[in-house]
Amino acid sequence: MLVKKVSFARDTLLDPGAAPWKQAAMEIVALKGTPLALQPSPYIKAAWKGREIGKIKSVRVQALHNGEEIFFHLEWADATADAKIGNDNAFPDGAALLFPMSGDAPLQTMGSKTQPVNAWQWRADFGEQGKNNVAEGLGTTRVTAVSHITCRGSWRSGAWLLVIARPLAVPDQATEAVQFRPAAATKIALAIWEGSNGERAGVKAFSQAWRVLQLQA
C-alpha cells in the first residue's frame, strides 16, 4: 500500500467524505474471522463454537500523509450502526490498524515478547480519541496512557466511513508506538469488529497477512 504525500489541511484529510479521499488510490482488503482455536480462553472457544466470527468480509482502505501526519481512510459495509453500548448485552462497532513496533512481528498471535505490535483502535463509542495499544501476544494488549490518535467516524446508508490519523512521529511514545518517516516502509494489518454480532476482544475479522506500507517521500 503506497501512502502518497499530499498537501491538504489536517481538517480536510480528517473528514471521511472530503475530496482527497474521492481521488486517492484504494485497496480492498479481504477479512476473515480469527480462528477459534487461537482464542485465549476456553470459555470463548466453547461459546463461539459454531458461530460466525468476523461478520465483516472486506474493507476499503486508503492512506495519505502530509509530511506531518498520516491518515488512513476505511470504509466497510455495515447494515447496523452499533454506535454505543447502551445495554449490558450490546457491543459497539470497532476497527483497528496494526503495525509491528519495529520491522516485523507475528501477526496471528498479536506480536510476541520480542516482537511487539502497536494497535490504533477506534470504537464507535470512543468519540474522537482513538486508543493506542501495545501487545506482545494474545490477550496482552495494554492501552497506553497517552494517545495521539484522532478518529472521525460516520455511518450512513449502510456503511461506516472512518479516518484514523496520527502524527508521523510521536517522540514521547518511542517505546510504545510505531514511528513513521516519509520514504520509509513498514507493515500494516486491519481488524473490524461487528458490534451487532457481539464481536469484541479477539473475536473479530482481520486481514490474514501483513501488507507492506510504503510512505512516499
Binding site: 480462553s41 470463548i44 472457544k45 466453547a46 449490558d88 476482544a201
Partner: protein
C-alpha cells in the same frame, strides 16, 4: 496477582488458595429486610456508572431472581468444560430508576405528588417479584435467598477472561477484577453461572462483590454480614476447625452450596429453610410434607438438603428435650460478633481508613 494460577486448572486439578474465606447464610433467619443489600450499596456502588448495581441481593424464592431468570442463563462448567452462557440485558438486571424527589419533598404538592420512577414505566426491577412466592393457600410458601459473588474455588469468570483480568487471591481466596486490566469484554458475565458481575457503562469495565477485602484485611467483617440484624451471615475460613464455617459446612454438613452442579465450587453456603407442614382441605396436617417442597430445595442445594433438614430437626428436638445442641448454639449466635465472625470482630468506626485501601493492587 494474575501470574498466579490460583483458581485455574493445572495438571487436572484446581489450584487452591492457602486459605479460603467463606460465608454461611442461615435461610431460617432471613427476613428479607434488605439491610445487607443497602449496606453494600452505600459502601461500594454509589459512584457514576454503578447506579444499577446490587452486588448483594436478596430475592424471594421461588422467584425469578436478579437478574430476571438468571438460573436459565447458562455459564459455569459441565463435565469439566466451560458451558456457554448469555449476557443479561440491562432490563433483566433491573435499571436504576430516577425518582421525583424534588417534586415530592419540595414541590409543595402535599399528597398530590407521589414518589414514582420517572420516564417509561418500568417492567422489571431487581426485586420485582418480592413476596409473591409460590403454592396455593393455605400451603403457599416462599423464603428469602441472599446472594453475593460466591468467590468460587474454580471461578468460571476468571477462566473466561482472555486478558487474565480476574484473579483469585492466594491468601484468602477472594476473587477480584483488576480494573486496570479489564477492557469490558464481558465474557466473565456470560460465564458466571450466578450472574453476579455487573457492567459499568461509564468506565466500561465489569465490577462485582469484592468480599469487602479492605475490611477483612483489617479484621472487619464484610458490610453485608456486619449489618445483618438477623445474625444469619457467618464469615470465616473454610478450613478453620474452630470457626463456625467449618462446623456448619464440613462437620455437621447443614450448610450447602447453591447450584453446585454449575461446577465452580462456590464458597457461599446455605442452611436450608425449614417450613411448617402442609395442611389439606380437611385441616389435616401432614408432617411428612413441608410447605416448601423438598424437590424445590433439592434443585437449589442438591440432594444433601434432605440430610441437612433432618439434622436441623433432630438437633431442635434435642434442645426441646433440654439437651445441649452445639449445632443450635452455633446457629443461634447468642453473642455478637464473636460467635458469627470470630476473626472479623473489629468495629470499622474505630479504625483509620484511606482511599488507597481500595485502589492499590490487592
Amino acid at each position: 496477582m494474575a501470574e498466579d494460577n490460583v483458581g485455574r486448572i493445572v495438571n487436572g486439578q484446581v489450584v487452591r488458595p492457602k486459605q479460603q474465606l467463606a460465608m454461611v447464610f442461615d435461610l431460617n433467619k432471613c427476613l428479607g429486610c434488605q439491610t445487607c443489600t443497602i449496606a453494600c450499596k452505600t459502601l461500594w456502588t454509589r459512584e457514576e456508572g454503578m447506579e444499577h448495581m446490587w452486588w448483594a441481593t436478596v430475592n424471594t424464592m421461588p422467584g425469578r431472581g436478579t437478574p430476571k431468570d438468571w438460573e436459565a442463563m447458562g455459564g459455569g462448567f459441565q463435565n469439566g468444560a466451560p458451558r456457554a452462557g448469555r449476557l443479561p440485558t440491562s432490563e433483566e438486571f433491573g435499571e436504576a430508576w430516577e425518582f421525583n424527589y424534588d417534586e415530592v419533598f419540595y414541590g409543595g404538592k402535599g399528597e398530590g405528588a407521589a414518589l414514582r420512577p420517572q420516564g417509561k414505566p418500568p417492567t422489571w426491577g431487581p426485586n420485582w417479584d418480592e413476596d409473591q412466592g409460590s403454592g396455593d393457600y393455605p400451603n403457599s410458601y416462599y423464603f428469602y435467598l441472599p446472594r453475593i459473588c460466591n468467590h468460587c474455588t474454580h471461578p468460571a469468570c476468571l477462566e473466561a477472561c482472555p486478558r487474565r483480568a480476574i484473579y483469585k487471591r492466594a491468601e484468602d481466596g477472594i476473587v477480584l477484577i483488576d480494573e486496570t486490566r479489564c477492557k469490558g469484554y464481558r465474557f466473565c458475565m456470560e460465564a458466571c453461572p450466578y450472574k453476579k458481575i455487573y457492567f459499568n457503562h461509564v468506565r466500561t469495565i465489569g465490577q462485582k462483590c469484592i468480599f469487602c477485602f479492605p475490611r477483612v484485611e483489617k479484621g472487619v467483617a464484610p458490610a453485608c454480614a456486619r449489618q445483618c440484624p438477623g445474625r444469619l451471615r457467618f464469615v470465616g475460613y473454610l478450613d478453620d476447625e474452630k470457626g463456625p464455617i467449618h462446623k456448619l459446612v464440613k462437620q455437621w454438613k447443614v450448610a450447602l452450596p447453591l447450584h453446585a452442579e454449575r461446577g465452580t465450587e462456590p464458597n457461599v453456603y446455605y442452611v436450608p429453610p425449614l417450613s411448617p407442614a402442609r395442611v389439606d382441605a380437611d385441616g389435616n396436617v401432614d408432617e411428612s410434607k413441608p410447605r416448601i417442597p423438598i424437590e424445590y430445595l433439592r434443585s437449589l442445594l442438591g440432594t444433601e438438603v434432605d440430610g441437612a433438614l433432618e439434622m436441623l430437626k433432630a438437633e431442635m428436638a434435642k434442645a426441646k428435650r433440654g439437651e445441649k445442641s452445639e449445632l443450635l448454639d452455633t446457629l443461634i449466635v447468642y453473642r455478637w460478633p464473636n460467635q458469627i465472625f470470630p476473626d472479623f470482630t473489629k468495629d470499622p468506626a474505630t479504625l483509620e481508613w484511606s482511599r488507597s485501601d481500595t485502589t492499590r493492587k490487592a
